[in-house]
């Protein structure tokens, strides 16, 4: 094949004006039109060794689907992606592409990498607009699988199990399904409607979704094993870490989970039209530097009455774990970054938080993770005056699901321990994947686990059948 000419500049993805978009929760990125998508698709060199595919945790056939977009075969492109990833509209929006597929793109060495994520979202959205094709369901196997949680790990697992003819029942603790995709990631990044349509599709394919069902409480894993032939645990990492410093329980101090659940999941931004309230003052400090911190900060700037939003992070900006795009979007929307700054206590008056005492940090020697360790600068303490604080410093797996189940072992962070090959726990027939075995990762990695577990479950069911 003749060498393609490299087009260094990518076709920009249309976005809403920051001044406009901070007034509401609608999606920030407008996405490619068919013309723009076809134009961007031309930039792919169709590399034979495709390093981009190597860098995608589930190995989406990237050059192939991009070729189909270039040819205007959008639905075919979506189906190509779905061979490996059934949620293109979700992953195209939320994957940290800069450290995965796009980070490895050859074109990126000399110019902007091909906008793989945006093209993936375009294909997914296009297919949804014309209607999904149902996959053929083979003869029912007669085997029943219980799935705990309805996040991306569970969705991916359920889809594959259905394709093999197994009966699938998903048990979700909350009153709406979708996991972090609906209770954490805000609408301006990932509209709930996208998640809803994927779940509707799963139901149309035969999955049963039971809401308001807390496994470990409403029924235990043991009880599920009496009714089902296998169990997949995809209960995520929903246990918020708290900064154990003075003033933690002052009014106005939230965990990111509480803040986002109130607003994103319960709709507190519509209060009093909906019943769930959220209290936010004029000045908000968000502690942390990950995706969650960016989501909280960008949610806060959109709330009525909020004047200033700070992100307080103890390392420097280049060490922030958040996606580059999110940091960029947050800055465009007016979020103020206080990096190399560490909170030491929350100060309050009459039971309400009035500020965060912080200390300035400088980067010292590299630590075990290879990142330079931040060390406090003596005497640099100052008080950041705020009336709302949100802690977004990470989360771990919630133990409720396996409480009292002695056979299932858990690691230091509370993560469920599984066989790395099969994802089976020490309790035969019980598998686990996603954040619950990793203590926090990404949507696509969780989905990869879900598929891997589905395959093992299928093999397990077939080997145990009489």
């Amino acid at each position: 094949m003749a060498r393609k000419e490299i087009i260094k500049k990518k076709v920009p993805v249309p976005e809403r004006d920051p001044k406009e978009r901070v007034k509401d929760f609608r999606e920030v990125k407008l996405g490619y039109t068919p013309q723009l998508a076809m134009e961007e698709a031309k930039r792919c060199l169709q590399c034979a060794h495709s390093p981009c595919v190597e860098a995608c945790p589930v190995r989406v056939p990237i050059p192939q689907f991009i070729k189909l977009i270039e040819e205007g075969k959008f639905v075919e492109a979506a189906r190509k992606i779905k061979e490996e990833n059934i949620l293109p509209s979700v992953c195209g929006r939320v994957c940290p592409q800069e450290i995965q597929c796009e980070g490895a793109c050859v074109v990126g060495k000399v110019g902007d990498p091909v906008a793989i994520g945006a093209l993936e979202a375009f294909a997914g959205d296009h297919e949804a607009s014309v209607g999904y094709e149902k996959f053929p369901i083979p003869e029912k196997s007669g085997k029943r699988v219980a799935i705990v949680g309805s996040g991306p790990a569970s969705i991916a697992c359920a889809a594959d199990l259905l394709k093999w003819g197994h009966d699938v029942t998903i048990f979700e603790a909350l009153h709406e399904p979708g996991g972090v995709l609906v209770y954490g990631i805000p609408e301006f990044r990932l509209p709930n409607e996208i998640v809803k349509r994927e779940l509707r599709f799963l139901e149309e394919m035969g999955a049963k979704i039971v809401l308001n069902f807390v496994v470990g409480k409403t029924k235990t894993i043991y009880e599920l094993l009496e009714e089902f032939d296998a169990v997949f645990i995809g209960s995520g990492a929903g246990l918020p870490y708290m900064l154990n410093i003075e003033g933690l329980n002052l009014n106005g101090v939230y965990s990111a989970n509480e803040f986002l659940t109130r607003i994103i999941f319960m709709g507190a931004n519509w209060f009093p039209e909906v019943d769930t309230p959220v209290y936010v003052g004029k000045r908000v400090a968000v502690i942390g530097g990950g995706n969650t911190a960016m989501d909280v900060a960008r949610t806060a700037v959109r709330l009525e009455g909020v004047e200033e939003v700070y992100v307080v992070y103890r390392r420097s900006e280049s060490e922030m774990p958040a996606r580059v795009e999110e940091v960029h979007h947050a800055k465009e929307e007016g979020v103020i970054f206080k990096t190399l700054t560490n909170p030491v206590r929350f100060v309050g008056e009459n039971g309400w938080v009035t500020g965060v005492e912080c200390v300035k940090m400088e980067l010292g020697e590299p630590d075990e993770s290879g990142r330079r360790r931040p060390v406090p600068i003596p005497g640099s303490e100052f008080i950041l005056e705020v009336d709302t604080v949100v802690m977004a410093i990470g989360q771990g797996p919630n133990p409720v699901v396996v409480e009292g189940v002695k056979e299932i072992r858990r690691g230091k962070k509370g993560e469920i321990l599984v066989d790395p090959e099969t994802l089976m726990t020490d309790l035969p027939g019980v598998f686990a994947g996603g954040d619950v075995i990793r203590g926090g990762s990404t949507v696509i990695v969780a989905m990869g686990d879900g598929r891997k577990a589905a395959k093992s479950i299928h093999e397990y069911l077939m080997s145990t059948s009489k």
Binding site: V214, K217, T218, Y254, S255
Partner: protein, 281 residues
Amino acid sequence: MYRIVGKKELAENVDEFVIEAPEIARKAKPGQFVIVRVTARGERIPLTIADKDPEQGTITLMVQRVGKSTYHMSCFEEGNALKDVVGPLGKPTHLEKWGHVVAVGGGLGLAPIHHICQGVKEYGNELTVIMGFRSRELVFWEEKMEILADRVIVTTNDGSYGMKGLVTDALLNLIESGTKIDMVICAGPVPMMKAVADLTRPYGIPTVASLNPIMVDGTGMCGACRVTVGGEVKFACVDGPEFDAHQVDFDELMNRLRMFKELEKKAMEEFQRKHCGCRRG
């Protein structure tokens, strides 16, 4: 949907609901609660499982009207359905044979107290119940408690029924009369629980309180329900709701319950403006 199969008004501002929820009824243990969402726009509110009937597949909730969600719930009648009910949540009461147990309940605290007392009796304890109300019209569930307990003492603030005074007055009488008390379990308004804890502390009587902080998910996910017990931060929905009353920071709990006061008032006003059709709105 979770159907209401029985409803009655127990006293001014207090309703009893019997709700179809077979799986919860089967599993519910004393001390546990459910989270209810009245409508699709509703907030998630925790309510104690006051009683259960595993055979009929029902649970009993006792709801005191204090704000928007509880008022809205009181508009629901037999045959209507609640949008969401999830549970049973929280740790069951730790029960054993202690000897003589005194259960102290005020207002909505009678919901946990009733279910806990069933457990206390199952373990063969002697049981005294002290139930406190502001005045005679507000008294309810006296017969229900009488069936369970060896002795029931009702107090009213104004003396219009039973003993005049507070539940702590009745408890102090018991202690001072030399009655041996091996365990006190209390539930109700925070100031009441605090007073009970302060009363029993010098006597060294083990005391447990069922706490009622603001909750959202009820499964350990949000941390809204955090309380300080013995200097440590605990999530009441998963580590509790019952804790050693002598270790609880009640002042902090009281403060945290005020977090949304202004907004709750606004919600209630909105509700009253819109729900003029309802008998209570």
